[in-house]
Symmetry: C2
């Protein structure tokens, strides 16, 4: 019956993610998206509804990529130490690997929009819940394995680690020295032992 969507949706989201990541939500125009995706204006609106619509899909796309990375890292971890170090190592690699020093799209989005748009706010709350659940799980296992201390409960340590990751992403925007960043991570994790 109908003509089918011809473009590669993943590819388009990839391109759109790059633009939003580099320029932020308010700094990105529809024209920027048209240029980056090689899609027509109408096609964007037809497929994503609005600027906020495509941005929400971009956020989900970005989050999915990060989750996959974490998943792989955790799969190779033999104990809680490996696991938590994998999380921070992947974050560090993401920081070091980005020559533009854009920071984390989700952290940036939180800073730009969480206090203004309810849809964004609740997306990020869910993202936070997932991150904290993951960290809590690692801490919990580490405490059962007697590798981590029990000075704080897993949820408290998870919120601490989540906070540290956000701080790391912010610092990574201006500090290019890998050794410095590794040192911060070392200090952050020391309290667990």
């Amino acid at each position: 019956m109908p003509k089918v969507e011809t473009f590669n949706r993943t590819n388009v989201l990839q391109k759109a993610t790059e633009v939003f990541h580099k320029k932020g939500y308010n700094g990105t125009s529809m024209q920027d998206l048209v240029d980056a995706t090689d899609l027509n204006r109408s096609s964007i609106y037809n497929s994503f509804g609005s600027k906020l619509g495509i941005f929400m899909e971009v956020l989900a796309f970005y989050q999915q990529g990060a989750n996959q990375n974490f998943g792989k890292g955790l799969a190779e971890a033999y104990n809680a130490t490996d696991a938590i170090e994998a999380i921070f190592k992947l974050t560090l690699n993401d920081i070091i690997g980005d020559d533009d020093r854009k920071g984390c799209l989700i952290v940036n989005c939180k800073s730009e929009m969480a206090n203004q748009d309810h849809t964004i706010k609740s997306f990020i709350e869910k993202n936070q819940d997932r991150m904290i659940a993951m960290l809590e799980d690692i801490v919990s296992k580490g405490q059962m394995e007697k590798i981590f201390n029990t000075d704080q409960n897993p949820n408290q340590y998870a919120l601490y680690l989540y906070t540290s990751i956000q701080g790391l992403r912010m610092t990574g925007i201006l500090n290019k020295n890998e050794e410095d960043l590794q040192n911060i991570i070392k200090t952050v994790l020391k309290v667990l032992y």
Copy 2:
């Protein structure tokens, strides 16, 4: 000779700061500033040059206010423990006291613009240098007083603390629970002892 500037510059910067803080740089329009400051468009351009011009002054104004707060807190500190706790306590109060949960203007600005505008980037680098110098000084004294350990040198600890403060500001945007935030701070500082 000339008619003199009639408006209260501090008052105008105060109002402009509120707007930029709430909506971000790209989210704020010149019309927003006209409405908030009760100044005429021409007067804004006449006195501040451009949107980026007034924003730079807003950043300096905001930074100055924060510095004064830190200064007062540090003046009352008898030792390094008091000092570092004052810094985090003031940060916590700033987070808790803001019902809009806007986060820190400078952290937000870093996330939005540091990778795009060179003037902004260098402002924030200087701000970071000052913050780290202040923290380094506290750590240094604490180590001399034998209150803090010497596992890391003052500069390394300072960067760690700076990173933690940024993380705290990000977490504070969505987490309203003061107890949780205090707990994070406790965990952050534990590594020093």
